[in-house]
């Protein structure tokens, strides 16, 4: 399929390009930027006038709920949601049911995804069997089945010896660990960030030390082993300071943040709105400011959606009993645009955190996987066409995800995807 995308505003953060340029696709790859290759005859021409032409988004955390949680969402519904959000590459956390600790499960997942023929899926393998934090998994077998790295999702490892051994084992083969710093004791029972607001609401709190102490442990162990570490869902200012220092020191460390945390703080919980029940919990103003500053200076490599579909039964409960999580695939781009607009960050810079940035994290973890995130000649043709000026209201009618639970429900957000291309095929189109 030869594709010519013309008259669009091409924004490619990887090459710092933001200009009116045409794009030429053939055999699933980008074959020309600005200039058509000699003798190029398109099968289809798309007029992208008034639209931005972006690399398909790379989302480092999206729960698609299969296997095991099909009543909340399915691969089918959530992958369509991804395309509607312009997300063409997704990394899946291993906390499915059963967890992704066996090659057979990973193979089945990839097979199901291939049948649907939508976005690229990159499963994370469980670091320990059953995510129990006791016995490490067959990391080599899992990598052969298609896992890009290893993770504990939201179940922290209590035994530091296991953590150390997992790092050593992973590093033996050059595998990366994607871990969320979370002290199991300090975070136990907490449903909101410790602070004045949690105290007012009478909610058990998670002190910030739950993140900083765990992060310190991870970095200390990593320093002695040398394993590549990607830190997931950092939520506090002190933790970001530690990441900044670790990067300065030259440790092989990257980190991401949830799109929700780029915008929201604990007081947004209001009168116990369970749509704001998230893991990690929303922190304070200073933490949000620190997240925004860290996004600009590159301490944070990627914004992810942290897509976690929760059904009505899971949310129609008192705040502390509600299931944490929010739908996010369709909001990742809009929330990035909203941040860029509010903070005055140029689009080519802001969009780096959802394209080249996360693609880089993925490439460092799994060099064999051809993640895109860029619009250079030879790159896989994963593209999305976006009306940057369109505004849409977040709600049941506009979301394709099976879950409509998000803290942004009812809000108007900028940016609407009009067309998504994966591997050179147009897989999603929506007229204005």
């Amino acid at each position: 399929m030869k594709l010519h995308i013309k008259n669009g505003r091409l924004i490619d953060p990887a090459s710092s390009v933001d200009a009116q340029m045409d794009l030429f696709v053939a055999a699933g790859r980008i074959v020309g930027v600005g200039q058509a290759p000699a003798g190029f005859e398109p099968n289809r021409t798309i007029d992208a006038s008034g639209l931005a032409v972006l690399p398909g988004l790379v989302d480092l955390a999206a729960r698609l709920r299969e296997p095991g949680f099909e009543y909340r969402a399915t691969l089918e519904t959530e992958m369509r949601a991804a395309l509607a959000g312009g997300v063409t590459s997704l990394v899946l956390p291993p906390d499915t049911d059963p967890p992704l600790d066996e090659p057979g499960l990973v193979e089945m997942l990839k097979h199901r995804a291939r049948q649907l023929n939508h976005a690229h899926l990159y499963p994370l393998g469980a670091m320990t069997i059953g995510l129990k934090g006791e016995v490490i998994t067959e990391m080599a077998e899992l990598t052969e089945a298609g896992c890009v790295a290893f993770s504990q999702a939201d179940t922290p490892v209590t035994d530091t010896t296991v953590l150390l051994r997992a790092m050593q084992y992973a590093h033996t083969f050059g595998y990366a660990l994607w871990l969320r710093p979370q002290d199991p004791w300090l975070s136990r029972g907490g449903v909101a960030a410790s602070g004045a607001y949690a105290s007012r609401l009478g909610l058990p709190g998670v002190p910030v030390q739950a993140e900083t102490i765990a992060l310190h442990t991870l970095l200390e162990l990593q320093r002695s082993v040398g394993v590549r570490l990607h830190l997931c869902r950092i939520s506090s200012a002190p933790a970001l300071e530690m990441v900044r220092a670790a990067k300065r020191e030259g440790l092989p460390v990257t980190c991401d943040v949830s799109a929700n945390h780029v915008h929201l703080t604990d007081v947004d919980i209001g009168f116990y709105d369970s749509n704001f029940r998230l893991e990690p919990p929303l922190r304070g103003q200073r933490d949000r400011d620190a997240i925004r500053a860290a996004l600009v200076d590159g301490t944070i490599d990627a914004i992810c959606s942290d897509h976690t579909p929760v059904d009505d039964d899971g949310k129609m409960l008192p705040f502390g009993d509600a299931e944490p999580g929010a739908t996010g695939l369709e909001l990742l781009l809009s929330l990035t645009l909203k941040w860029a607009d509010e903070a005055g960050v140029p689009l080519v810079q802001a969009l780096h955190r959802v394209t080249a940035g996360p693609a880089g994290v993925l490439a460092a973890s799994a060099p064999a996987m051809p993640a895109s995130g860029r619009l250079g000649p030879g790159s896989p043709a994963d593209v999305c066409l976006v009306d940057l000026d369109a505004r849409w209201q977040v709600g049941r009618e506009t979301l394709r995800s099976q879950s409509h639970h998000t803290p942004f429900a009812g809000m108007e957000l900028p940016g609407r995807v009009r067309c998504t291309v994966v591997g050179g095929r147009v897989v999603w189109e929506q007229a204005a």
């Binding site: 105290s199 609401l201 009478g202 909610l203 709190g205 039964d313 008192p318």
Partner: protein, 316 residues
């Protein structure tokens, strides 16, 4: 942010928390309660204000005393009262909170009095009941116990008259106390200039200063020249493990004895939401002494709950 306790006309339609409760509404509740107090002395203790209305006491957490006072209050208002002990009913069978409410609403409930162990549960309920149905929070987790705070305010007003020159000390497990939180909001709203929280660091929540409270870990300093001392109950569970070493040590450091009470003003009153753990947070000599007004709190509690129910039921 829209205050879910008030309707479009600014009338109190639910009582969920003393936080964000306007001062004039608190005063209105206290004044109304005052008209109900003499009823207790009469032979005919009933008034017809809630005749024909159905009041459902939904207690997801055990409580005989609070439920009983609400029952008495509702009956004195001539309402039909139904008690539901939820732990032995449908919830044990897995029925969700909202399904329970929906089922009861279908039985024409006008007013729900709710006690639940999850902070915020009454807000969820209030969001899902029909417009003419009212919700009164009888205690949600560690968040709020507004009727207790209101009867505490009534008690203080009865004995001290003027809020504007008082020092009030709240002593004990503030961290887990919905009574403490509700008292703090009511006291600051009513203009009490000095509200103190006294306890060990393990039992003090963060952010108290932002609520307008002065924090003390030394009880002697915290009681000095206080006009009102509110002692909180220390639950047995807290006395094991990482929060506190023992009841014995707690009593020595934070229990109210005659010696410690002597540091407060000579006419200071001693309050307690009940039930008391004698010898743990309060000495019997003080609990039974002349400065304790604990039984008055119970009496006033009925009148205050009658006031709250009649006020919300009359909201348009």
């Amino acid at each position: 942010m829209h205050n879910p306790q008030l309707n479009r006309h600014g009338e109190l339609t639910h009582l969920l928390s003393t936080e964000g409760l306007p001062r004039d509404i608190i005063t209105h509740i206290l004044d109304t309660a005052q008209t109900f107090v003499p009823l207790a002395e009469r032979d005919l203790k009933k008034v017809p204000l809630l005749r024909g209305k159905s009041v459902f006491n939904l207690f997801f957490e055990n409580s005989t005393r609070t439920r009983t006072t609400f029952e008495i209050a509702a009956q004195r208002l001539s309402a039909d009262v139904f008690n539901l002990n939820i732990n032995v009913s449908s919830t044990a069978k897995g029925e969700s909170l909202l399904d329970t409410i929906a089922n009861l609403s279908a039985m024409q409930a006008d007013l729900f009095v709710v006690r639940h162990e999850a902070s915020g549960a009454p807000y969820l309920i209030a969001r899902h009941v029909a417009p003419h149905v009212h919700v009164i929070n009888a205690g949600d987790g560690r968040h709020a116990h507004p009727t207790q705070a209101l009867l505490d305010m009534y008690t203080i007003r009865h004995f001290k008259k003027d809020f504007s020159n008082l020092t009030v000390a709240i002593v004990g497990d503030i961290l887990h106390s919905r009574v403490a939180r509700s008292d703090i909001h009511a006291l600051t709203t009513l203009g009490v200039p000095e509200v103190r929280a006294v306890g060990p660091l393990t039992l003090l929540p963060g952010g108290l200063e932002q609520m307008g409270v002065r924090v003390f870990t030394d009880m002697k300093a915290g009681l000095k020249d206080a006009d009102v001392v509110i002692m909180l109950r220390l639950q047995n569970e807290r006395m094991r493990g990482a929060l506190l070493p023992s009841a014995h040590e707690y009593f020595k450091q934070y229990g109210l004895t005659r010696e410690k009470l002597a540091l407060a003003k000579p006419d200071a009153i001693v309050m307690h939401p009940g039930p008391m753990n004698r010898g743990v947070e309060i000495d019997s000599a003080v609990a039974d002494g002349s400065q304790a007004v604990i039984l008055d709190q119970v009496t006033f509690g009925i009148a205050v709950r009658m006031a709250v129910m009649s006020i919300v039921a009359s909201a348009g």
